[in-house]
């Protein structure tokens, strides 16, 4: 059928609209946990997850199978979800919040949106890995390490702590991510241990020494792999993940600095919303995240440290968890975090 041009155009536009309407008519497709395909039919809790599907799906499946409840999961950036929870207030559809960064869950707790967790959850995790007021618990731990390109740098050359990276020897060779929350947590811990003046001095020296600012840990890791920079301050597991993807020839290795703060532990954590009307189920879900089975998934798949008592870390994690300090300040006080931002802005790091 040959139509004159305007009609053809109109027809095509109409078809496009029709396609949209058909898609609407059939119902859009959704797929919630990102994990298994056999979802239980009974409706269960709603989870706001700062972790991507691959990093939590199987843990959700474990709970769904045990509880025979369907968990609905919203995935987005942790900070965006925290801001959303604050705007939603009591009207939030969420029952549980899983935060990738400690600051975000502290912000939500501070806004009075998290309920106190029962003893039988809190007791599963050592005291240093949870909120002193019991509003959230840590699920996994991530160590702040120095990553380096082992084709260019020998481990013996690396300084005992990031304080040593201000040496002229490292000029323009170091990557960091001042805008990422993990770096900011680290700076907050530095302030707690060494005071604001020493911390500011270090930040300024890093900037003067040409530290390259990246948006996040992944971009630092990739820049080291490409030889763009030689060392970087990142979370340990990003490198472990790349090695398991790329094979043993991957040029980036990690070094747990023994001096200074050591390789500070940062927590991913979970809390239950005060507004939830499914609290018993939400608590059961949190317990499930801390079960041996789920914890084993976290440590073996993403190479994070499991935080529940009695769970062994993945064999690839050669530095024992007891050797990695948790700063008091990383059990976050938001005001401290804002002080950190100020300090980083003043020193030109941010």
């Amino acid at each position: 059928m040959i139509l004159p041009t305007p009609q053809r155009r109109l027809l095509a536009a109409a078809l496009l609209v029709l396609a949209g309407l058909v898609a609407a008519g059939c119902g859009f497709s959704t797929e919630d946990s990102g994990g298994g395909s056999n979802e239980p039919e009974t409706e269960g809790i709603t989870l706001y997850s700062g972790r991507i599907p691959a990093a939590i799906g199987p843990a959700v499946d474990i709970y769904e199978a045990q509880a025979n409840r369907d968990v609905k999961v919203r995935f987005a950036e942790t900070a965006d979800l925290a801001a959303t929870l604050v705007e939603e207030g009591d009207a939030s559809p969420a029952d549980v919040f899983f935060a990738q960064e400690p600051g975000a869950i502290a912000a939500v707790a501070e806004a009075g949106l998290l309920t106190k967790l029962p003893r039988n959850i809190l007791d599963r995790v050592p005291a240093q890995y949870r909120d002193p007021e019991g509003r959230w618990v840590g699920v996994t731990g991530r160590a702040r390490v120095i990553a380096y390109n082992r084709d260019v740098v020998k481990q013996a050359e690396l300084p005992p702590s990031p304080f040593g990276l201000t040496d002229p020897k490292w000029k323009d060779r170091v990557g960091w991510s001042p805008a990422s929350s993990s770096m900011q947590e680290y700076v907050t811990a530095l302030r707690a241990k060494y005071g604001d003046d020493r911390t500011k001095q270090w930040l300024e020296e890093m900037v003067d020494n040409g530290a390259v600012a990246f948006p996040d840990n992944v971009t630092i890791r990739d820049a080291i792999a490409k030889g763009e920079i030689d060392v970087g301050l990142i979370n340990h597991y990003y490198v472990a993940q790349a090695i398991s993807e790329e094979g043993p020839d991957y040029p980036v290795a990690v070094y747990f600095p023994p001096g200074g703060l050591g390789s500070l532990m940062l927590l991913t954590s979970v809390g239950v919303l005060e507004s939830s009307d499914r609290k018993p189920e939400a608590f059961a879900f949190v317990r499930s995240l801390l079960s041996k089975q789920s914890q084993a998934f976290f440590t073996s798949s993403s190479k994070e440290y499991p935080l529940a008592k009695g769970v062994e870390p993945d064999p690839s994690l050669s530095v024992p968890i007891a050797k990695i300090p948790v700063s008091d300040s990383s059990l976050v006080d938001l005001k401290e975090l804002q002080g950190t931002i100020e300090l980083m802005k003043e020193s030109g790091a941010l």
């Binding site: 797929e31 995935f75 801001a83 929350s181 990739d222 763009e228």
Partner: protein, 522 residues
Amino acid sequence: MAAARRAPLGLLALGALIGAAAVLPAAYLVVVIAGDFSAALETAFSSRALETLLRTAALTAAVVIASVAIALPLGWLTVRTDLPGRRLWTVLCTLPLVIPSYVGAYLLVAALGPNGLLQEALGVDRLPSIYGFTGAWLVLTLFTYPLALIPLRATLRRIDPQLEDAARAMGRSPLEVFRTVVLPQLWPVLAAGSLLVALFTISDFGAVSILRFQSFTAEIYVEYQSSFDRVAAAALGAVLVVAMLVLLLASSRVRGARAVHRLGPGTLRPTQPYRLGRWKWPALIFCSLIVLVAFVLPVGVLIYWASKGISTGSTSLNTIAALGGNSLLIAVWAAVLGAVAALVVAALAVRYPSRTTRLVERLAHGGYALPGILVALGLVFFSTRAVPALYQTIALLVFAITIHYLPLAIGPIASSLVQLSPRIEEAARGMGRGPAEVFRTITIPLARGGMMAGAALVFLHAMKELTVTLILSPIGFKTLATDIWTQTTYGFYEASAIPALVLLAVAAIPVYLLSEQGAAPS
């Protein structure tokens, strides 16, 4: 000009409704700022905010100038000359708009960054750094110039050929004709296109964060992601709204001062395309260069990644089809609603200029200068309080995306209305037709080019929208863009390449349709 004609009441009411809807994100900023006014004031007027604003203004100006410098020759070559393969060039030159800016930035770093593909190819130790201003400028120009090109082409097609023919008949050179006859008629649409490019640039987060340029939007994200300070974020958002109003004012000045109507009847007489002659080769080289850098290179990298991704078997065909369907669903609805709403706003502003209709137009721009996170949070705030039943439904998501991108459609439609002499409508009124009938039978058909362009722009942006979708979609609802996000978060670029390519393929449909109507008769 018919001075101070009264707008039909129905149209005005509809416009007011649209304006009120579009201003919701800005209204949310006001609510949050009112919560702690002094802190907000301190943030908004800090020297840091000023520095960031100036830095962002410099970037915006540079991106706008470069975009116009690319769009103007491309538009003219593909509409008004006998350039071989005009249709193909049109599609290829418009498609870069579909590449999300964060993908574009990753690709640029992969290609031109330290130890990237170019450095390897040249075998040199070091290239000039692409980070900071240069990289942000390059990426934003390459992936947003189509915002100026699309409305420009729609206008070029409808330019009255009589003036040009007369000038040519009087022996003026093509360049002179362009400068003295064509260019003056293009000011309104260039202003509208520049506005879109400028607003996109100031609201972008993806490219500037990867290319390490501390723009105003990046500053807003620092407030959310680091300090969890919603008041400071809202205060900075309010500064963006003010900046947007200034740009809008400048743009509408140009549009008002330079209005040129067609003299002839409603139907177009085909123009004779210019013969390029020996200029054919330079023209082809110019088009090829743009297409190479803004389209072929990025798509090449994507295909390379995708081939690696397929071999590791990451994404199933069914999943991709479902994601594509979801993206299409949102984008088509947003495009249709956006074009209709924009027609109302543009018709009011152009045909019935008054204080009220100008206000409606400004309100309707409320959501575009803001980064997605502020638009999303604004709707979270209002919908959980006013219409909880709609919260996190498709309807609300489409609504949010429509108001976010509404200005994209207003510009081209307003330009096409400016070009269309109101006398035609007046004549119809004089013949006894009612205002609604005139609107339906005269205004809409003649503004169709602008409406198609506007709808396509909204469609393309809705296809790649991320932040609003993540927060406001029904739970479990995934699109191609959210899938790309999921994959790139942990650096799985190979896996993200497949949805990115599908996104390009789907978005090519409206671009193709547009190009068809843009082809000059031969």
